[in-house]
Point group: C2
Chain length 242, copies 2
Amino acid sequence: MRTHPNKRRTDRVHRRYVARRLEILRAAGKQFRVRGFAEAGMRDIAAAADLSPANLYNYFRGKQEILFFCQDNSLDRMMAALERARRLRGTFAERLRFVIVSHLRCLLEEVGGSAAHLLTSALPAHLQRSLVAKRDRYEGGVRQLISAGVRSGEFVCSDPALAARAMLGAMNWSVRWFNPEGPMSATEIAEGLADYLIRGLLVKSEMYPAALPFPKIRSFAHDRASRAELRRPSAGSIAEGR
Amino acid sequence: MRTHPNKRRTDRVHRRYVARRLEILRAAGKQFRVRGFAEAGMRDIAAAADLSPANLYNYFRGKQEILFFCQDNSLDRMMAALERARRLRGTFAERLRFVIVSHLRCLLEEVGGSAAHLLTSALPAHLQRSLVAKRDRYEGGVRQLISAGVRSGEFVCSDPALAARAMLGAMNWSVRWFNPEGPMSATEIAEGLADYLIRGLLVKSEMYPAALPFPKIRSFAHDRASRAELRRPSAGSIAEGR
DNA sequence: TCAGTAACTGAACAGACGTTCAGAATCAAT
DNA sequence: ATTGATTCTGAACGTCTGTTCAGTTACTGA
């Protein structure tokens, strides 16, 4: 029994497995976003992902784990955008705009149906802590971006922490009213919100809003499809139930 | 059997009844705010209000009705603040600031533990419609305030509707991170958020933030305690259970 | 073709939920 | 003290939930 054929087989099987996992996460993310965590039942999620409810448990340990990976996944994507914005050459307004637009696309665009805004208390303590820590790092990054802009003289802001929270709140709340079939696309909304949110920081607001070109995001939705976090957890990462 | 003694008796009984109703609404509002609608059980609400679970049903038809009155009540308070802001003499920035601060106080201050931000889909259609209509009137009022400021030359904003949603989102999201025991009071947060949110609209942002005095709100939390909407509904306003 | 593994399912389970109800306790007025 | 109404409660009911499991189907590699 050589290892190669086996290896190839399990590879393909594993790829299918990961893909199904992602499908489930997307379906669940949409359900969570639309109906809320508690209101979205496993039977709904299963139906949205075209599986039997019982079959979900071949891919995830339970509902909480699904929520966790949904949030963890979108937090990772946002964090990646934040780090990319940091390395960006340009004004702080441009960097901040990049973060805002990325954040909103991640939340609103259909393919990225995640639900980072749901950070609910329905998770066991250690998972909750892990997510909150990640979100705090992200929020801290946004705050630092604002502070740096203030130090550089480009921004004016008496309380960067509060401004960061205001910006994130305005963005996160958009999932409440955004309608994919509505007149505005996710990108248009993102640009419009960025205009307003950044204007509140600029010292010289006359030069704003202007057509600030910023690097297009390519393959944004898929570039983390095979992240380590998406693989099946081997150890007991979810120990006790609720 | 004269009517006077009876009248007096039932009056007092009725006052107690209304007061208890308000207590329940406050307790439930806090639970809904902290844990979410589905996660907050009737047994939790009852415990928070110091009642037996069964006794809740002497004051409300059920959980959905409690949520409805929570939201309806805080929407009414916000609407009242909006109308008061409209009649205010002063700049549009001052009026808008009044609305923002009132909104945030209504959401965050302990005594007004309501949950307008929860507008969930867990309510029967007609109640949902009623709340959404009221919220739309409120949101429209904020939008008109912005538009009027733009027309007057005081504000600049390419999309007042979007800006209004951004502002409301930033405010509503605050219930997620606000901590009553934290370093900032609800009022301080309200002022800080108002600074930033209004700055994004001003043409001449140099004169901002400045100490803009605005009329103090007095007896804000209690002035609607005996509203008609708080009385027990006599007809079947909640018909079918979900 | 055949064995073995992976993917999947229907039916059920234990627990939590909102809610009800018969009846006890409390209150108010005579 | 008695009466009638109001306020309250413990215990239960039916339903829905997340989850499990024995068993079936589909797929893979030789």
